[in-house]
Symmetry: C2
C-alpha cells in the first residue's frame, strides 16, 4: 500500500523533494482519533520508545534504590547530543549503580552536537558515554543491579532486563513482540516492529496512565515529570524534542527515533501519537509531529507560532538567502499553517 506524501520540500516555487509516511493518533482506549497512511504495517520504533523502555528502571525499584534525579531519569529516556552535561550525567548514573563506562555495550560514536564534538576532538576521542543511547543503557544496567543479577549481556534479547522491557512494551502497545519482528538496534538492544496504531496506543497509555497497573501508571508519571522538568537531558541544545518540551512542558512528551520515527503523548488529552516517514527522514518526521501537536493541542498564539518554525520551516542557504520551505500536507488541521 502506498503511503501519501506528507511533507513537501520546496525550492523556489517548485517541489524539490517529497516525503511519504504514515501517522496515527490514538486514545488510551485504543480508538483512533486520526490516521493517515498504512498505520497497520509494523514499524521499528527504534529510540522513539525509550521512555517506555525506561519503565523497568522505576518499577524494579532501581530509581529509588539509587536515588536517581530527574536529570538522570530524563537521560534514561534520551537520545542525547553527547554534550558535556549529558556525558557527566550518564557517568553519574553508572556510578550510582557501582559501575562505569566499561559496562556499556552501546558502542561509541562522536557527539551529534557539533560544538561538543569539536571540543572533544581537541583533547581526546569519544567513549561509549558519548553514544546517544548511553543513558538508556545506564538505566538497563541499574535495573540489572537492582534485580541483583549479572549485568553481563544485558543488551541481549534473552537477558532478564530485555525480557522485562519486552513485557512492558507488549503491555503498553498491546502488540505481540515475536522473533519475526525483532531486529538489532543501533545500540545493539532488540528493536521490535510494531504497527503505528499500537505505538500510538502505547503512548496514550504512557501519557495518561489509563489501562495500566497502579505501579506502572506511577512509573510512567515519574518519567513524564522528569522529561518535562529536564527536557534538555532528553535530547540537547537546539534539538526538536528539547525545544518542544521546553515550549509546552508537561502537556507534551515527544521522542525521536532513527529512520524517521517519532512518538509522543498529549497527556491532558489522553492521546498518543506515532509517526513514520517511509524514507527514514528525520526532517519530515519532525515537521509531521509538530503539525499533529498543533492539530490536537490547544495552543496560545505564541505557542502556535513557535511550532510553525518546525511544521513549516523556511529553508536558507549558506549565505542566509531564503531558498524555499518545507510544508506538511494531507494532515487536515495542519492547514492552519497555510
Amino acid at each position: 500500500m502506498d503511503d501519501p506524501v506528507l511533507v513537501e520540500v520546496l525550492r523556489g516555487g517548485l517541489v524539490e523533494s517529497r516525503h511519504r509516511g504514515a501517522a496515527a493518533v490514538v486514545d488510551s482506549e485504543g480508538a483512533t482519533a486520526f490516521a493517515v497512511g498504512d498505520v497497520a504495517r509494523p514499524v521499528f520504533p527504534r529510540s522513539a520508545v525509550k521512555p517506555l523502555q525506561a519503565l523497568p528502571l522505576i518499577e524494579s525499584g532501581a530509581a529509588d534504590r539509587y536515588a536517581l534525579s530527574d536529570e538522570e531519569l530524563a537521560l534514561a529516556c534520551a537520545s542525547h547530543s553527547g554534550e558535556p552535561a549529558h556525558v557527566e550525567g550518564v557517568a553519574r548514573l553508572l556510578a550510582k549503580a557501582g559501575l562505569d563506562v566499561s559496562a556499556l555495550a552501546c558502542g561509541t560514536h562522536w557527539p551529534s552536537s557539533q560544538a561538543a564534538a569539536f571540543a572533544l576532538a581537541k583533547t581526546g576521542a569519544p567513549s561509549a558515554l558519548h553514544n546517544n543511547c548511553s543513558g538508556k543503557h545506564a538505566g538497563f544496567l541499574c535495573v540489572a543491579r537492582a534485580m541483583q543479577i549479572d549485568h553481563a549481556g544485558y543488551w541481549r534479547p534473552e537477558h532478564p532486563v530485555q525480557l522485562a522491557v519486552r513485557a512492558v512494551l507488549e503491555d503498553l502497545t498491546g502488540a505481540t513482540l515475536s522473533q519475526a519482528c525483532c531486529a538489532v538496534d543501533g545500540c545493539s538492544v532488540p528493536t521490535w516492529a510494531v504497527p503505528l496504531t499500537n505505538l500510538a496506543h502505547g503512548f496514550a497509555r504512557f501519557g495518561s496512565g489509563r489501562g495500566l497497573s497502579t505501579l506502572r501508571a506511577r512509573a510512567a508519571a515519574r518519567l513524564r515529570a522528569a522529561c518535562a522538568q529536564k527536557p534538555w537531558y532528553v535530547a540537547g541544545t537546539g534539538r526538536f524534542c528539547t525545544e518542544i518540551m521546553q515550549l509546552l512542558g508537561a502537556r507534551v512528551l515527544v521522542k525521536t527515533g532513527a529512520e524517521g520515527v517519532f512518538c509522543g503523548a498529549l497527556p491532558e488529552l489522553g492521546l498518543g501519537i506515532a509517526v513514520k516517514c517511509d524514507d527514514g527522514a528525520g526532517r519530515a518526521a519532525e515537521a509531521i509531529m509538530a503539525a499533529l501537536i498543533a492539530c490536537f493541542l490547544p495552543l496560545s498564539d505564541r505557542e502556535h507560532a513557535a511550532l510553525a518554525r518546525f511544521a513549516r520551516p523556511t529553508l536558507r542557504n549558506w549565505s542566509g538567502l531564503e531558498v524555499g520551505e518545507m510544508r506538511v500536507v494531507e494532515i487536515g488541521h495542519a492547514t492552519t499553517y497555510d
Copy 2:
C-alpha cells in the same frame, strides 16, 4: 505520478525504510536506453551539473590563460570535502586570477570531512574556501576575469558568467531554462529544474562530445580527463564520486548533487545517467547510480565486487554488528547483486 520504490533499507528481515525515485539512461542522440519513474518531471540538478557548469572555464580561455592544472579543473567540477588540499587548491585557483577568498560568494560552512573539521576547529573556523562549492565559484571568477568584466555579482542569474553557464546547460540538455524553473542553489547561483531525460542526454553529450561544437567537445574532454586524473579533488577521502572514479578511471564520470540527485557519463558507451531520489536521500541515489553503472558498463569481477559495496551495502551498528542492508530494486540488471 508515483515513482516506484528503487531502494529498500532492511533491518533484520524487514524493510525498515524505502526510497522512491526516477532514473534515466540516455545516449548522445537522445534515445532512452533505460528509464524508471517519471523522467519527464523537472528536477533541480543542484551540484550534479558542476562539470557542465565548468565548460565556460575552458571555452572562455581562462583555463589556458591561468594555466590551470588538472587538480584545479577537477576542483571547478567538485563538491569537495573541505580537506586541506582542497582548500589550498581553491586558494591557488583564485590567486592565479589575481583574487582571494574575499571574492567568493558561496557562503561558509564547516568541511564535510570530519577529520578536516576537527583539525580546523583546533585552530580556527571555516572560510568560504571550505564551502564544498568554492572550486566552482573560483572557476566562475576566473571566467569573469578572462572575459575582462567586473566579477562583482558573478553569482547572479543576469551576470554574463551565469548567462554563459545557462547557455551551455541549454545546449547540452536541450531544455529551455526559463525563469519559472529557476531557483537559488545552496551556494546562491541559479539552479534550473530540468527533466532527468534531458540531464542524462546532456551527460551523454558531455561524455562523448557528440552533438557538440568542436570547441565544446574539446572542453568537455579536458574536464573529463582532469576528473579522471584527479578524482580526489572532485569529492574527497572515502566519498562515492572519488572512489568510483578511482576504481573505473576515465570509463565513468559521476557527480553528486544535493537532495538525492546523481548524474554521470559512461564515455566509452556514449551514455549519460541521471538519478533523482524523490525524498532527497543521498544514500539511495548513490546505490542507484552504482547499480546503473553495473548494469551498463562491462566490469571485471573485481570491479563488480567493488561496486557491490555501494549498490548493496551491509549496514552495521555502532558496535560493528551487522543489522541489515540496502538493496536496489526495480532496476533490472541490478539483480546481478541478488
